[in-house]
Symmetry: C2
Subunit: 334 residues, 2 copies
Amino acid sequence: MKKKVVTSGDVARRARVSQSAVSRAFTDGASVAPQTRERIIEAAAELGYRPNALARAMISGRSRLIALMAAYLDNQFYPWVIEHLSRRLQDEGYNILLFITDTGKQDKVVQQMMQYQVEGIVMASATLSSTLARQCEDAGIPVVLFNRFVPSSPASSVTSDNVQGGRLIAEFLIQGGHSRIAFIAGDEDASTNRDREAGFYQAFHKHGRTVFARAVGGYTFEGASRAVRELFSRRPAPDALFVANDHMAFAVMDVLRDELNLRVPEDVSVIGYDDVPESAWKGYNLTTVSQSVDGMVDATVSILIDQINKQSVSRRAVVMPAQIIIRGTARIPE
Amino acid sequence: MKKKVVTSGDVARRARVSQSAVSRAFTDGASVAPQTRERIIEAAAELGYRPNALARAMISGRSRLIALMAAYLDNQFYPWVIEHLSRRLQDEGYNILLFITDTGKQDKVVQQMMQYQVEGIVMASATLSSTLARQCEDAGIPVVLFNRFVPSSPASSVTSDNVQGGRLIAEFLIQGGHSRIAFIAGDEDASTNRDREAGFYQAFHKHGRTVFARAVGGYTFEGASRAVRELFSRRPAPDALFVANDHMAFAVMDVLRDELNLRVPEDVSVIGYDDVPESAWKGYNLTTVSQSVDGMVDATVSILIDQINKQSVSRRAVVMPAQIIIRGTARIPE
DNA sequence: TTGAAAGCGCTAACAA
DNA sequence: TTGTTAGCGCTTTCAA
C-alpha cells in the first residue's frame, strides 16, 4: 500500500512557490496573484493534493465542526431534525460530528466532543449537566438544547411552545364534547412532557374540569402500549386520549384498534404531538400538534453561527409557535 | 469571554513533570510510573485539561474519525442503520462525521471527508465514482458501500441478498395463488432495486410465468403513490404487488385502501422490503423481507476496523441472507 | 521511567 | 503579492 500524503510543501515545490503561497491559494480572500494561484491549483491537481483540515483547524482555531447528539432515532422526529440540521449546517460550511448516546453517558460524550474542538454543540432529545454546560460556556462553545428546556442551565434552547400546544389539545378535546379525557405522559423528566402536560392541565382547570385519568408511556412504543392497556382495563374507560408524542400515539392506536377493538375516533379520540411524517400516513391519519422543524432548525443554526462569529456565548431561549393539525383521529368540535 | 485553553504544557508545569510525561499519562500503555501518572491526572483535573484530539490525530496519523454519508433519512431504514452503526463505532472508539447529501454532490463531499483525515468511509444509500473510490484506496481509506453494490468499484460492499429476497417474494406470491402480480420498482439506478427485481423476474421465469405489470416509484412516497394509481387505472388491475421497499409500500397501501377502496390482502396482496420498524405497526402489518441490520452493521464495522488495523485496504463484498417476514398484507400460501 | 528535541501540515504575522 | 519565520498542541524518537 502506498500512502501518498501530499502536503502543501510538495505542491509548493512543484509550482515553484513558497509553501505559504500554497496555503493562500486554498484560502478564500487571501492575496494571491491570479496566475500564481492558477499555477498552484494546477500543481495541486496533478499531485492530488487535499488540504489537511485537521492541521488547518489547529492553527486557525476553527475546526468547522459542530457536534450533534441524540439519544435515539426511532422516533422519526429526530431523523427529520438531523437531516434538516445537517443540510443547513453543511450549507454554512460546517461539518457534523454525530453522537448517539443513552442518557447517563451524555456528559462523558460531551467531553469527547470538546476534545475534537467543536465550535458548537446541539443536544437533541438530550441535556447535559449544568456543570458541563458551564464548562462549554467557559470554553466559548455555544450549546443549544434542541427540543429541551432546562431553566437552570446556561445552555441555549430551542423548543416549540409546548405549554400552548398542550392547551390547544385540551381545548380541542373539550370542545369536541368528550367527557372522559385521559393523558398518556412521555418521559416525565423531559421538559417537553412537563410543558405539554402543564398546558393541558391548565386548560382543564380554566374550564373547571379535571383530567379523567393519566398513565405514563415514557416516550417508548412499548411503554405507550402498556399505558393504554392500563387505562382501558378500568371502567368506565376514557373517550379521548392526549398522547404526549406521535411516536407513542401510533402504539396507542394499534392497541386501541387491534387489541381492544375500539374505533378511532368514534369510540376514542386520539391526539398526538410532533406531526412526524407518519402522522400524515392514511393508516393513522393522526390529529396532532406540529412543531415547526424548519423554524426550530433555523433558530438553532442562527444561534450557533451568531455566537461562533461573535466569539461570545450567551443564553438564548427560542420558543416557536405550536399549531394543531386536524386530521382524522379526534372528533372535530362543531 | 475567557478562552481558557489548557494545554499539556500547563499541566506539566503544575505537576512538575515534562510535557511528554503528560502525554504519556493520557496514553494507554505508555510507560509512566503510577504515582507520576496520578500526580499528572490530578493536576489535569484541577486545571480542567482536555487533550486536543486534533493535535493528537495530526501527530499520530489516527483521527479516530469515520465518515458516514446518507442521501436521505425519511426512509426509516437509514436512521436505524445510523443509530446502530454509530453505537457500534463509538464502542470501538471511533467518532462519526455525518454527511447528508443529494446524489450529484456526493463526490465533492467525499473530498471533504478525506480532508478531515477520516480513517474509513461508509456510504449508505449512496455510492461514489470509481475514480474517487480509487483515490480512497490510494490514500489507504477503506470504503464500505452499505446496501449498495457496484461491480466495478474498488470499494467494499455490504448488502443483503437482494436477488434471493426478490425470489422469495415471487415464490410467496405465486404460491399464494395470485394471477396478476405486479412490481413497483424503486430507484432504477440503485443496485438494491436491480437485484430485487432480477430475483423476482427470475423466479417468474422459472415458473414459466410473467410479471403482470410494472411501474416505477423511485423509492419515494409520492413516486410510489403515482405508481399504484397508474397500475390500477388499467383493467384488469393487479391482484398482488411487490413494492421494492417498505417506505414505498406504506404509500401504496394508503392509496389502495384510502383512494381505491381496496382491501389488503383480500383484494390485493402487498409485499415490501426492509422490515423497517413501521412494518410491524398494526396500521400496516406489512409482509416484507428482513434485511439483517445488525448483521450488516457488524460486517461493516469489522471490514472497517480490520482494514484500518491492517493498514491495507482491499475489496470485500459481504452478502447477508434475506428472510421473509410473514405478516398480514399478503395472502398466505396453504 | 523520564526529559529534550523534533516535527505532524498548516496559518498568520511580518518583511521584503 | 510573495517568502520567511514562528508556532498550534500534541506524539514519538532518542538519550539519560
